[in-house]
Subunit: 273 residues, 3 copies
């Protein structure tokens, strides 16, 4: 059922503007190309507004933010909202520094995002205003588990209601919710945490999914999460003796490149709560 | 015949300064190393001038430009011109934003480049002052084809004459021209467009080719285009079941690394018009 | 004997803040993950201080420095020193430009580093105040060889004494010294010089080793050098026909990922002088 949203990305090939960190930007670009969309990056304020104007979606990722790129995030974000583009916020490291927390919170206040995608610590920070984090990785104490699942499903639905955004809280168990419905997704591999930037790649891909499927934002976001997870599983199966996290990174992007709607449908493991 | 220009790069190993975008910079560095030259990157104005001074070539790529790096492009470009270094302009995204178009046009006005390398939309923008583009990819309407080949050959020769630069317009069919002679090159694979940065890599490599072959700039630029295309063909043949754009990216750089003048001569497909 | 320091990194998994260049930053992040630690990057001054505070180590790499990131280096460096964190300086390109030489020298004056890791030209520049370099690669005239070994061992010991830092001078022969003891290490492969960023990766890894082994900084730094060298040897053995520098890059990170203390102990080739 979720495979058709990938097919739409390949059919429409939306152009996605990414204001994103320089650590994982190359992988974000190749992951967006792998799923059938096109990436472009700009972060000087005037340039970011112009580039946003010719795109179909904007992915704002606050990792390695600076005073100049923060301006670009606000200006391009407002332009994207005005043009009714797909708009995603990835609050990388919210909770880890005052600047990141403040920037994410203020972006949410001034701009209406279609989706907010982060790990459990980042999402909790956005709701609570502050939180403990482990750098750009989630604190274990914040993780979604079978024990706290009902609580966390309600938590993300409430946040979706209050923010007006689809919330994608990703980790070992992924939750993708609007105010009424929550996809609980169990794809992926723990070894994906040993690669830098799988979350950043997912944010870029998810923006493309929303841009290509504007009538079904919740399902499109859930489909992107399943795509990343299924790709991680396929890539893991393809690993050979001696392979490590660098080859695994390449194999995941390769698996996205070779994914079809059918394979995605067969591999997606989720329930709706 | 074009293979000897690669041999010269391996023999002289020029040091190439790249003021380039952060999306593809790592691949540019590894591609320059793969062809036998050495890369260095700097983009703070004073630093960029000093680093330029110890190099043999300067590759200016305007992707992810900002107000600070634009200053570096002008200052380092003037220093490189003064020192008679190989000088290349890659007008990434010219036509997609005012800042990019203006920066590319002004760089051309103030600095004499040995080569300008871009896709058809970017090159048309530089000639016409404005144009439609699809972000950092060429608009299909601008593509060189068998139907418009004579027109486009004249177009790039005219631009070469007016600018005093060798023009390398790359795409499915590549044109590399000075005012009298145009190489029409048919190497490469369409799948290269599904990898971010093959154009950026080519610009870095081409700067090294010009630096190592200052007496034969046109042929050296054409040789670099053939190298990239032949590498793309070899890498494509080496792909295995399950490989995608991330592995293809690695395989292309690997093929450049293993290229010899002889393999390049055998694989290069071009005519001169 | 040196393998146990790797085991400690995997056991403690320190969080390492990297203010580093955008050319090789992705590889630095994946290399840090491969050895069992976690990376985070920030370079806006206030953000860099906050992020430093939650980490166990700070890796300052001056490649692609700019006026804003230089401020971050000083502010975060002082915070890390105040918190007694592991602190490493990688003076990329010192000697190649005035800004780089001045920044490295001033960082050393104002901040006490646990380790300074660079190539022979960069280290000589820090001692002598100026030197010839070949961009970001060492000048051949500066290389450590069997002929000048005694002289160079004394040179790094003297610099260790004067600076109060462990000195890691890496090249074909690596020297890792404090004022009394010098590890002379002969691991690695010359082909590693055809990949961009193996030195940057080593600096990130070494910071993690120091953070996890604060009581044995000299041995931990030497262990990190051996890890990189042994990984380079294993990766080279695993290369297949048609592989080049891009695959070699991936294979080295993979080999770090799969390294154990035992493999490291068996592969490490060093003497103590």
């Amino acid at each position: 059922m979720l495979g058709k949203y990938l097919d739409k990305v390949r059919e429409k090939s939306p152009l996605i503007h990414n204001i994103t960190n320089y650590v994982t930007v190359n992988d974000v670009a190749n992951a967006i190309l792998a799923c059938g969309a096109s990436p472009v990056m700009a972060d000087e304020p005037d340039d970011a507004v112009d580039i946003t104007s010719i795109c179909g979606g904007l992915n704002i990722n606050i990792g390695t933010l600076n005073s100049r790129t923060i301006q670009s995030m606000f200006k391009a974000g407002k332009k994207a909202e005005e043009l009714n583009h797909a708009l995603l916020l990835d609050p990388v490291g919210a909770g880890a520094s005052k600047l990141r927390t403040d920037t994410a919170v203020n972006l949410m206040k001034e701009i209406k995002f279609d989706v907010i995608r982060g790990n459990s610590s980042e999402i909790k920070t956005l709701v609570l205003g502050s939180n403990s984090t482990k750098g750009v990785d989630a604190d274990k104490a914040d993780a979604v588990s079978d024990e706290n699942l009902s609580f966390m499903v309600k938590f993300v639905k409430d946040f979706a209601k209050n923010s007006g955004s689809v919330i994608a809280l990703t980790g070992a168990i992924d939750l993708v919710a609007d105010d009424k419905k929550c996809f609980v997704i169990r794809n992926g591999r723990p070894e994906m945490g040993r690669i830098t930037g799988t979350g950043c790649q997912l944010s870029g891909i998810m923006t493309a999914f929303i841009a290509a499927n504007p009538e079904n934002k919740l399902e499109a976001a859930a489909s992107a999460v399943c795509l990343m997870g299924v790709a991680g599983e396929i890539a893991f199966k393809n690993l050979q003796h001696g392979d490590g996290n660098s080859t695994y990174r390449n194999r995941i992007i390769d698996a996205i490149y070779n994914m079809t709607g059918k394979i995605l449908d067969e591999g997606a493991k989720y329930e709706i709560k």
